[in-house]
């Protein structure tokens, strides 16, 4: 594991955070042919499956768990965002490079900009989640005398709808910008490869019939109308490959 942690991918992230190596990886001379470099292979970093949150506070987790349960609910079709592990997926994403906006251009000057100019907040995604959740709970405490997580389901839906439409005026955050980011991340957590901590049991893929990381689908190209009958598979494997536990 130590070797993997020291891969150039990790260094790339660390370098960018420190601002030390603008190009992110050591310069190198490549000549004399293409060589396989197994020690540098770009294996993905799997999410830590431990249960506790590393980014969200208890109050923040309360909002996240309540909101995602409304956004992708469990129903007769199967589990929803909670069962897929979306809250811990979000937690890991916000604690990592994505949450820090490592790849983003985050230099000023700052201006509100037009919708056609995209993200112009000086907040990173992690900062925006933190500020938005605090503002939302403050707002619902003021209007309904309760944190969002304590509202009735239909009231939560109505509030999320207002966030989506920019109908809530939050103290520090544009509610529409936050909701757009939040919804995108919830969908990522529901449909990503399970190695990232979401889509547990591949329930998102099973819901719609997506086979996951399978790479050879030649037998189905001309099989018009034939349902795909192999179970989905993750980059990390699938339950059928694991030793049975008594």
């Amino acid at each position: 594991m130590a070797e993997r942690d020291l891969s150039r991918r990790r260094l790339l992230g660390a370098g960018a955070l420190l601002g030390a190596a603008p190009l992110g990886a050591a310069a190198e001379v490549v000549s004399g042919g293409v060589r396989w470099r197994p020690d540098e292979a770009a294996f993905p970093a799997a999410a830590d499956e431990a249960k506790s949150y590393t980014f969200f506070s208890r109050a923040e987790a309360g909002f996240i768990e309540a909101a995602v349960a409304r956004m992708i609910p469990a129903d007769e079709l199967g589990g929803g965002a909670i069962e897929a592990g979306v809250p811990s997926f979000l937690d890991r994403q916000l604690a990592g490079e994505f949450g820090q906006g490592t790849r983003w251009y985050m230099q000023g000057p700052w201006a509100k900009g037009l919708p056609t100019q995209g993200w112009q907040s000086r907040m990173t995604p992690a900062q925006m989640y933190r500020a938005a959740i605090a503002s939302i709970d403050k707002d619902t405490n003021h209007s309904f005398n309760a944190a969002f997580a304590k509202l009735e389901g239909p009231n939560q839906d109505a509030y999320l709808k207002r966030l989506e439409n920019g109908g809530v005026s939050l103290e520090t955050v544009d509610s529409e910008a936050f909701f757009t980011l939040f919804l995108q991340n919830v969908i990522e957590g529901f449909f990503c490869d399970p190695i990232h901590g979401g889509n547990r049991g591949m329930i998102g893929w099973k819901l719609i019939g997506f086979p996951g990381a399978r790479y050879d689908k030649r037998d189905w190209v001309l099989a018009y109308g034939k349902p795909y009958d192999l179970p989905p598979v993750s980059i990390g494997g699938r339950p059928g490959w694991l030793a049975q536990k008594d």
Partner: protein
């Protein structure tokens, strides 16, 4: 102070498709070539393995293969009245970073432009009169004809092993191909890919309406292939992870899978990665490049002397390097004078979803260029009289993999989340076909590139500023083509359709296409263009600029086939003409 490195014959800036092509050709001619790539080394076995390449979150949404805005981005605005602001995260387009460039994560849709695309100005004026062009439209002819380019299209298609069905061989129309294409000397090296159900339904519907469907020419292999360099590609397995991903199967043509095994073995070629060129250095006369200044990952600065400089980065970087190096006259939209930054263009797209009640389409069976298309409404393949626009676009069903974070087809009126969304997605995901259109964008006086006055990159150099919007001509054209797409979609016999037209101003937010063009265009004279027909700078004779940077406007087809053909044309001119009289213009101004 920069350390000076021993002179090389040729230094290539950027190592994607065109950098690899030009390096391969010029090393064959015996020149010593050094390529400088600002990104990292990547190869199939190490970086795109099938044990982890199919990771939608990592590659599409965490953008691992793409340019990092933190390092370099551009600022964007729709017109000069707005203040340009940085593209802080990628959206509308996704430039590549690293060896292979955007050619690593492309779909493989490999087109030739129509003969009339290359003469867009003279052709449209001849057919429709000068009044057909709005006063602020600044389209030009390429200065090179389809007939001149044909051998180089052919060369690229055989390098790649394109899978397709020819439509016109030497003037003879071929059944099942695109009857509108320019004449080709021979057919594609490989037969078309096997066609799944949804594109097949599109082809049947298009035929029933009298159109001419054909398989999308694909850089995805329909069978094992050995290219003319002796490099071997494997058959595509339709895994559905082409677009925005590297191919783990050696089945999608890229610099890695077609050129690098040969090029990197040559003693007269060297590649340096994580080395970013900051400027092209000029001699005191301002007419000769002496080499380039670059910085490595440790922050050390070098001057690399060279007899010839090939600028082969993505178009935004090409134009910015020309501007910061003081090469050519910057374009001024107020006067219309100047050439660097002029005629920036793009593409305009739309889509129509067809929802079936009972057809299981398995949309995850895919490849980047797997589909059935029609060219009946592209370019000037249809009579534009009375339509109020010029140009056109393709219409087709491309089945590229329907990866689920990105693809959730639901009928009109479905909410974007909640139980109703979940049910609608579960019902429709396997039963939806998407008819896509991709249309031309003409060039205009007010659409251009220059240096931003405010924002800087990681090295303190100005960012490129992009001033761009869709104009009336493009909206009218796209609406017309979208309406034809909707007619075909209806004829496909589903339960219902949903039309997603492109409305309003260009936005940097939603992904559209990485088909940015122009900014240092080719043409017939230095007053109107930055480059001659051989991609040689009019101002600096030992500088050649590759890529879609040279396109005077963008057609309705994907650009890779044409920019690769132009690179081969340029290489041929360099090796057969320029080397006999180095430092001299190949075309007299």
């Amino acid at each position: 102070m920069a350390q000076t490195l021993p002179k090389v014959d040729v230094v290539v800036i950027g190592f994607g498709w065109t950098g690899a092509i030009i390096a391969q050709e010029l090393t064959d001619a015996g020149l010593n070539v050094l390529a400088l790539e600002r990104g990292i080394w990547r190869d199939t076995a190490t970086d795109f393995s099938t044990t982890f390449a199919q990771d939608e979150l990592r590659y599409r949404f965490r953008m691992e293969l793409f340019q990092r805005p933190a390092h370099d981005t551009c600022t964007v605005r729709n017109d000069v009245s707005q203040t340009a602001l940085p593209m802080r995260e990628l959206g509308s387009f996704l430039p590549g970073s690293g060896v292979g460039g955007a050619g690593v994560h492309w779909n493989g849709q490999t087109w030739r432009y129509l003969p009339s695309d290359l003469t867009a100005k003279s052709h449209n004026i001849a057919r429709y009169g000068k009044a057909a062009l709005p006063p602020d439209m600044t389209i030009q002819d390429y200065g090179v004809t389809y007939a001149e380019l044909e051998p180089y299209y052919d060369k690229f298609e055989y390098l790649c092993g394109i899978s397709g069905q020819a439509g016109n061989i030497g003037g003879a129309i071929q059944p099942g191909g695109d009857p509108f294409e320019g004449p080709r000397t021979r057919g594609y090296p490989n037969p078309p890919l096997d066609m799944p159900w949804a594109p097949t339904l599109f082809g049947q519907a298009a035929s029933s309406l009298g159109y001419h469907p054909f398989p999308q020419p694909a850089a995805n292999m329909s069978r094992p292939y050995v290219n003319p360099l002796g490099v071997q590609l494997g058959p595509c397995t339709y895994c559905g992870f082409c677009e925005k991903f590297g191919c783990g199967n050696y089945s999608k043509s890229s610099a890695q899978t077609t050129i690098l095994p040969v090029l990197l073995a040559k003693p007269n070629f060297t590649l340096k990665t994580s080395c970013e060129v900051l400027k092209i250095n000029l001699a005191a006369d301002g007419k000769t490049a002496t080499g380039v200044t670059y910085i490595d990952a440790a922050g050390r600065e070098y001057f690399q002397a060279a007899d010839m400089v090939i600028l082969a980065a993505y178009i935004t970087h090409n134009v910015r390097l020309l501007l910061v190096s003081g090469i050519g006259k910057p374009y001024d939209p107020a006067s219309g004078q100047g050439v660097i930054g002029k005629n920036y263009a793009y593409q305009i797209d739309s889509s129509v979803n067809v929802f079936y009640e009972d057809k299981i389409l398995n949309p995850f069976v895919g490849a980047g260029a797997l589909g059935m298309m029609i060219s009946d409404f592209n370019g000037d393949n249809f009579d534009h009289s009375g339509l109020g626009f010029i140009g056109g676009g393709y219409i087709g069903v491309l089945q590229t993999g329907a990866r689920p974070i990105e693809t959730h087809p639901t009928p009109d009126g479905t909410p974007k989340w909640g139980g109703a969304w979940k049910k609608a997605l579960a019902k429709n995901y396997l039963r939806t076909a998407t008819v896509a259109t991709q249309g031309a964008v003409m060039s205009y006086r007010g659409n251009y590139l220059d240096l931003d006055p405010t924002y800087r990159d990681a090295y303190g150099q100005p960012l490129l500023r992009m001033t761009f919007d869709f104009k009336d001509n493009e909206h009218k054209m796209s609406d017309y083509v979208t309406a034809r797409a909707a007619e075909i979609a209806k004829a496909m016999g589903g339960r219902e359709i949903s039309v997603k037209a492109r409305t309003g101003s260009w936005s940097v937010v939603p992904y559209q296409s990485t088909h940015n063009t122009g900014g240092a265009i080719m043409g017939t004279n230095p007053r109107e263009s930055a480059l001659n027909k051989y991609l040689q700078s009019w101002d600096v004779a030992n500088l050649f600029v590759m890529g879609a940077t040279a396109f005077p406007q963008q057609s309705g087809y994907n650009p890779t086939g044409t920019l690769a053909a132009l690179a081969y044309l340029s290489a041929q001119a360099i090796t057969t003409q320029y080397l006999k009289a180095t430092g001299k213009p190949l075309v007299q101004a």
